[in-house]
């Protein structure tokens, strides 16, 4: 048992030394209580639906989400819009399809199987419209940033006046959580920017939380299934380990008293 304890300490050491690798350049992110953290973490359904609203009304004008389909909005473990709602959402977008039998491309209302419509035709068009900066695709954005959800949540609220010693070019903004503090995106949220259907007060903080929750789901659509299966798997393993431990004791008792 002493050896196992040692082994466990080594494992812990490796994990901590790895995750603190870049401790030197970390800033304290804003914290909030995420419902999807922890052993039984689940998404807050209402927050996901509000988050989708913020994404589609605010972010989607520049940021694509190319790995998601409209059908995902109605799937279990996500915002869980009803199928009719998801169909209506899909139909509100114009999708380019084709070519038809005349060889022409045409547009039609979106279907559940369509991917989220992209705001720009290609990267160059996106850069041209945003002063040379490419608004990153948001599908896996929270997993692609070191600070994860806390970073995105903080960044959305991190806009402030630049200190006097920092000079900003045209179209560059100061954000205290951005790497290097300079960001090409103007503050995207302001109080009351969207009108929530469920009457929630649309403060910047609330919208940041909702949209970040939505982004966590878009990056990890099977998070709830993972947490549920993980709990079962680990409980199963622990019970089996205990049983095997006693079998082992019994078998080894033929040889000696102490394994």
């Amino acid at each position: 048992m002493k050896n196992l304890f040692k082994l466990f300490s080594i494992i812990i050491f490796i994990i901590t030394s790895n995750s603190y690798s870049f401790a030197a350049e970390k800033v304290e992110y804003l914290k909030t209580d995420w419902s999807f953290k922890g052993l039984f973490g689940k998404f807050d359904r209402a927050s996901l639906q509000r988050g989708y609203q913020v994404y589609t009304e605010v972010c989607a004008s520049c940021h694509s989400m190319k790995y998601l389909s409209y059908r995902n909005l109605a799937e279990p473990g996500g915002p869980e819009f009803s199928e009719a709602q998801a169909k209506a959402i899909a139909a509100s977008f114009e999708v380019t399809d084709g070519p038809n039998s005349d060889g022409e491309m045409f547009t039609r209302p979106g279907k559940l199987s369509d991917k989220f419509v992209m705001p720009y035709d290609n990267v160059k068009a996106a850069q041209a419209a945003n002063g040379g900066a490419y608004p990153p695709d948001m599908s896996v954005l929270v997993k692609a940033r070191g600070g994860g959800v806390d970073y995105i949540y903080s960044l959305l609220q991190g806009y402030e006046e630049a200190p006097s010693n920092v000079s900003l070019d045209d179209g560059v903004y100061y954000n205290k959580y951005m790497y290097g503090n300079k960001i090409r995106m103007a503050a995207p949220l302001s109080d009351g920017l969207v009108e929530y259907g469920d009457g929630t007060n649309a403060t910047v903080e609330q919208m940041s939380k909702d949209v970040t929750t939505f982004l966590m789901w878009s990056a990890e659509p099977h998070l709830e299934a993972r947490h549920q299966m993980g709990f079962k798997a680990i409980v199963y393993l622990i019970i089996l380990t205990v049983l095997v431990y006693f079998s082992m004791k019994k078998i080894w008792s033929r040889v000696e008293s102490e394994v």
Partner: protein, 420 residues
């Protein structure tokens, strides 16, 4: 060993066994006499076999859905994560499985170092092990390239560029490795092919590793030769099987924790950004298990010498049986070696830590000192220690320290004599 006189009981069994002695092999494996004092550090061989099989099975499944093309690889990984049934589970097992594999192999190697398992007559087992370890690093490195994220791309660029340090032909070799003038689609497809091939090479070497082990038999914590079979040994089945099984389950709990609750903590966030040859990440770092060697590479100011140092750091292990001049195997009876052993462990952990840090200032200085010490340990301390060290008296048999007149002794003898 009892396998020479083994004969299957049934007629069919005898007929088959005379033509292909698989049953003799099975009998040898279950009866294989194992020192009874093996501690839990000896369970990692079984754990590693489990890791290899897990990687092969999950890897085959992933390969059915993955597309090895520079334009589609990243998207196909997202397809696996989102739309393939339990694709997220299979991929997270495979990705974290690599880390678990290395965790287990490092424990396995350091167990060998502590108990002197590499010494005569087990040098071949040890050298095959080092080759397996080298192949594991190659497989892990190429596997990390396949998702075609930023760290995949730039990691591949940095590591393949190391070959350009070779005088005269270096640049040509790099172009040949890439299949072009930069890391691109031809690099990805060949890495995929090799990543698919290497695990099966490892599997073959594992068979040789175990075969070579079964000639002299296991070393043990006391490090003395064991008469087989005798009261010092137990048959592999059921004693070692159940103990390995128990340890494996403990290991799987840790494994499951990572897969289900922290699947990305051991990876780098940048690898969720699709590869972009135009944008270099702020810090290019390899996976945690390669960090000590990365630190050694960067601690040498000259590129060629850095590569030589990094390779030597691994290859020096292959000649370890001849560098260690001590006749005593186990560190239990080597008071000085025991201390140097733990200093080496600390040294490697420090190298791993500075490998994750930018190579500048104090970090670089620490990396240089730690690199120098690493080679000092193997090239100077170990050879000298064998002559200078005053070792403790070694017991005559492992029964002496373990049993020491236990009342169960007679029972154990009876049980053993019954099992053929």
């Amino acid at each position: 060993m009892s396998d020479h006189d083994y004969r299957p009981k049934s007629k069919v069994g005898q007929w088959f066994n005379d033509r292909l002695p698989l049953l003799t092999l099975a009998n040898h494996l279950t009866d294989y006499p194992t020192p009874k004092n093996l501690n839990y550090w000896w369970t990692f061989g079984g754990i590693l076999t489990f890791c290899l099989i897990t990687q092969i099975v999950t890897g085959l499944t992933l390969a059915m859905h993955y597309i090895a093309h520079a334009d589609m690889a990243f998207e196909s990984v997202e397809h696996i994560m989102r739309d393939v049934n339990y694709g997220w589970l299979i991929r997270y097992i495979h990705a974290n499985g690599a880390s678990m594999f290395f965790l287990a192999v490092y424990i396995h190697i350091f167990r060998s170092l502590f108990y002197g398992s590499y010494k005569a007559p087990r040098e071949i087992i040890w050298i095959i092990g080092i080759i397996i370890y080298l192949l594991m690093m190659a497989a892990a490195f190429m596997g990390y390239v396949l998702p075609w994220g930023q760290m995949s791309f730039w990691g591949a660029t940095v590591i393949t560029n190391l070959f350009s340090a070779i005088p005269l032909v270096g640049e040509g070799i790099v172009t040949w490795l890439w299949g072009g003038y930069s890391v691109d689609n031809p690099t990805l497809t060949r890495f995929f092919t090799l990543h698919y091939l290497i695990p099966f090479l490892i599997l073959g070497l594992v068979v040789l590793h175990i075969w070579a082990l079964h000639v002299p038999g296991n070393n043990n914590p006391v490090g003395i030769d064991v008469k087989k079979p005798s009261k010092d040994t137990v048959p592999f089945h059921p004693y070692i099987v159940i103990k390995d099984g128990f340890a494996l389950l403990m290991f799987m709990i840790v494994f499951a924790f990572f897969v289900f609750y922290a699947p990305n903590i051991l990876g780098h966030a940048d690898n969720y950004i699709e590869a972009n040859p135009m944008v270099t990440p702020a810090h290019i770092v390899p996976e945690w298990y390669l960090l000590p060697f990365y630190a050694i590479l960067r601690s040498v100011p000259d590129k060629l010498l850095g590569v030589v140092a990094m390779l030597s750091a691994i290859l020096i292990l292959a000649v370890l049986p001849w560098l260690d001049t001590s006749k005593i195997r186990s560190a239990v009876f080597r008071p000085l070696y025991k201390q140097f052993y733990w200093i080496l462990v600390a040294d490697v952990l420090i190298l791993g830590y500075v490998g994750a840090m930018p190579a500048e200032g104090l970090y670089l200085l620490i990396a240089r000192v730690a690199t120098a010490y690493y080679f000092l340990h193997f090239l100077v301390i170990l050879p000298v220690l064998g002559f200078k060290e005053k070792t403790l008296p070694v017991p005559l048999s492992i029964t002496e320290p373990v049993l020491g007149g236990s009342p169960n002794l007679a029972v154990a003898r009876n049980k053993e004599s019954k099992i053929e």
